[in-house]
């Protein structure tokens, strides 16, 4: 996966490059808006990270021009401005996602992978949480090498949760995934599925956390403390 990092702060660019390369991406850096646009046109990466305050063309202009020219490269805007107005402006200008500096590296990686998946540029890489993993093609869950036996509903629930390990997913959203097209089912039925799934996950290194009235969350049991936001 080839990433283009458009960032004029050298320290930031180097740190990002190092971190992303260690996480398995191929990274090119560029510190100027005009150059960035050239790269997007002639050597398009799989995804671009774009700082808004850069010399030459500013980030929003680069976005506007790229989208106006029909370039479809997924672009994540990174900025220290952070105000809601900027976020809306950025997304309106054609950004696919938006992260305010300072951000968490894990968060950045998750967003990048989610975007790449959405754009069909990354397939096959298994999703993991603890010792639990999802094999994408078969849709089967494994604890280490052992297949985890799940009902289709448990599988749907776990699949929705492992897409964003450590993040809570709202109950109504999960309900629609687990019980698609079924309107007679009571809302509480999801709790039964979750209860059984939690039992099956014992010993997998991943645990299902219930947030009553809100939703569920899958987290790795031995995970280092997540950074507070």
């Amino acid at each position: 996966m080839k990433l283009l990092v458009v960032e004029d702060d050298v320290a930031m660019a180097q740190a990002l490059q190092l971190a992303l390369e260690r996480r398995g991406f191929e990274v090119e850096c560029c510190a100027d808006g005009g150059q960035a646009l050239q790269r997007l046109r002639h050597a398009p990466p799989d995804l671009a990270l774009l700082d808004l305050t850069i010399p030459g063309l500013d980030g929003l202009q680069v976005l506007h021009k790229a989208r106006a020219e029909g370039l479809s490269v997924p672009i994540v805007v990174l900025t220290a401005r952070g105000a809601v107005g900027d976020r809306v402006q950025g997304l309106n200008a054609g950004a696919d996602d938006y992260l305010a500096k300072p951000f968490d590296l894990d968060e950045l990686e998750a967003r990048i992978r989610a975007l790449l998946r959405r754009h069909g540029r990354e397939q096959g890489a298994p999703q993991r949480c603890g010792r639990l993993s999802l094999e994408r093609e078969s849709g089967a869950f494994y604890v280490d090498e052992r297949v985890l036996e799940l009902t289709p509903r448990e599988q749907a629930l776990l699949k929705a949760l492992i897409a964003q390990p450590g993040h809570a997913v709202a109950k109504d959203k999960l309900f629609r995934v687990v019980f698609p097209m079924e309107s007679e089912i009571q809302f509480e039925a999801i709790e039964v599925v979750a209860y059984r799934l939690r039992k099956k996950l014992v010993g997998s290194g991943a645990s299902l956390v219930t947030l009553r009235g809100l939703g569920y969350l899958l987290r790795a049991e031995d995970a280092a403390p997540a950074a507070p936001r």
Partner: protein, 466 residues
């Protein structure tokens, strides 16, 4: 000055006076005309009488013997030209100007003698004239001889009109002078009265932007004192606000330097090998998180102040905001193994506000509650409503707060957690409540003596139903 006080006063004083003067002039002119008519009618009558005196009866017929001098007055008289005619007892023309129209009116019903006289407006040689008609009894030498003769004397109106014009002109001149004097005096009086206002304006314009001392107002009229009083009061409030902001900037820079100082020491310790590299980095990460949180909260606070009055509040569903923020903070709760519950009524609870403000408020309250709750403890977020307001209740199972701390917690940089808090969270919450017309309370559950936890309650007026 769009609404000039001077112009207004002038209009209000001169306008009615000018109107009055105009009406007065018209009535004066009419009165003068009446007086002129009466006076000139009398001379007409005198002329008619003097002609009547000269009438006599001879052989049963009316005879007129006008001496030449008597006729003269009719020819040269004065500026006005005169004419007369005399008709006999049977109405036949006897003497004078035959083309002078015959008196056709009926005598007015008055007293016996005057009843023989009438004045009418008529036309003679295409000119308007005033005409006196006198019925003169003429008695002959023999008894039974005689009758009533009619003497008519007419006069053109030039003299009367000239006189009336003269009077009108005089009147107008006097009245114009009066208006001019009133106008001038008003102008001068208003200008003098407004001089202190002008001085006040100059004082305000030349004032230094940082000078918020009260305005000095020597010689300012009593009517303007309340205005200056209000302005001074505003300046006092501004001075207080500016003072608070200066204090905030001072505190903020101090607060920002603290994590930097800590980082520096932690880095130095790590580099000098006093501490294990991984442990040092973990410590540094904690410090960095603190600094980030502080910076974010200062930005949020600045934004709250910036957007004041920028956009109208919209109905915001507390359930939506709650779910969003709770989902966002769920990883923190999961990490501490907290027993979290979101308790919400079945229907939406919409309050008047801005979604981002409510999110900011709830994020801070939940964050505080997560920090206060012991590992594995219970934490709930409740959405409640009654007839007037919607409430967010964040219920933790922490140690509660001491009464002394309760109020001070809302002040910037006063924190109940010396190592972890930025001291801005509750300041932001209070600011949001003030912006949205809501209120915030921190209540120890089960009494202040041995609290079973803290209820942070933020209440907002319900949005009107659409």
């Amino acid at each position: 000055m769009r609404h000039s006080l001077r112009r207004r006063l002038l209009a209000w004083i001169i306008g009615p006076i000018a109107l009055f003067v105009a009406v007065d002039t018209v009535s004066l002119y009419r009165g003068a005309l009446r007086s002129i008519n009466v006076a000139y009618d009398r001379t007409l009558l005198a002329s008619a009488r003097s002609i009547g005196e000269l009438l006599a009866v001879k052989d049963g017929k009316l005879q007129v013997e006008l001496p030449y001098t008597a006729l003269e007055i009719f020819q040269v008289g004065n500026a006005g030209r005169m004419a007369y005619r005399i008709d006999g007892f049977d109405g036949e023309f006897v003497s004078g100007y035959a083309d002078l129209p015959r008196y056709a009116g009926r005598l007015p019903q008055r007293g016996a003698y005057q009843a023989l006289v009438d004045f009418v407006d008529a036309e003679y040689h295409d000119e308007p004239v005033r005409m006196a008609a006198l019925y003169q009894p003429v008695v002959g030498a023999r008894p039974g001889e005689g009758g009533i003769a009619r003497v008519q004397v007419a006069e053109t109106l030039e003299v009367r009109e000239a006189l009336a014009r003269q009077i009108l002109l005089d009147t107008l001149l006097r009245q114009a002078l009066l208006v001019a004097v009133v106008g001038g005096v008003t102008w001068i009086a208003v200008s003098r009265a407004l001089r202190p206002v002008e001085a006040l304006r100059r004082a305000l314009r030349t004032r230094d932007a940082r000078d918020l001392s009260p305005l000095e107002t020597p010689g300012l009229p009593g009517e303007l004192q309340p205005l200056v009083g209000a302005a001074n009061e505003l300046m006092q409030r501004l001075a207080r606000l500016l003072g608070l902001q200066r204090q905030f900037v001072r505190d903020a820079s101090h607060q920002l330097r603290t994590p930097l100082a800590v980082l520096k020491i932690q880095a130095q310790n790590g580099l000098a090998g006093h501490a294990d590299a991984r442990a040092t980095l973990l410590e540094m990460q904690g410090t960095i998180e603190r600094a980030i949180r502080l910076a974010n909260q200062m930005l949020a606070l600045a934004k709250l102040e910036q957007v004041h009055g920028e956009s109208a509040p919209q109905p915001v569903d507390l359930q939506e905001v709650s779910a969003e923020v709770a989902l966002d903070l769920a990883p923190l709760m999961a990490e501490r193994g907290l027993d979290f519950e979101l308790v919400a009524p079945a229907e939406a609870v919409a309050v008047r506000g801005h979604a981002w403000m409510l999110r900011e408020l709830l994020r801070n309250l939940l964050h505080n509650a997560i920090r206060a709750t012991p590992d594995g403890g219970a934490l709930s977020l409740r959405i409640e409503r009654d007839a007037a307001e919607g409430r967010l209740v964040v219920r933790d199972s922490g140690p509660g707060i001491g009464p002394a701390l309760r109020e001070r917690l809302f002040e910037p940089f006063h924190t109940g957690h010396p190592t972890a808090g930025s001291g801005l969270g509750l300041t932001i919450c209070r600011e949001v409540c003030e912006r949205l017309g809501g209120r915030i309370e921190l209540n120890n559950r089960g009494g202040d003596a041995a609290p079973a936890g803290l209820d942070a309650v933020a209440a907002f007026p319900l949005a009107a139903r659409q």
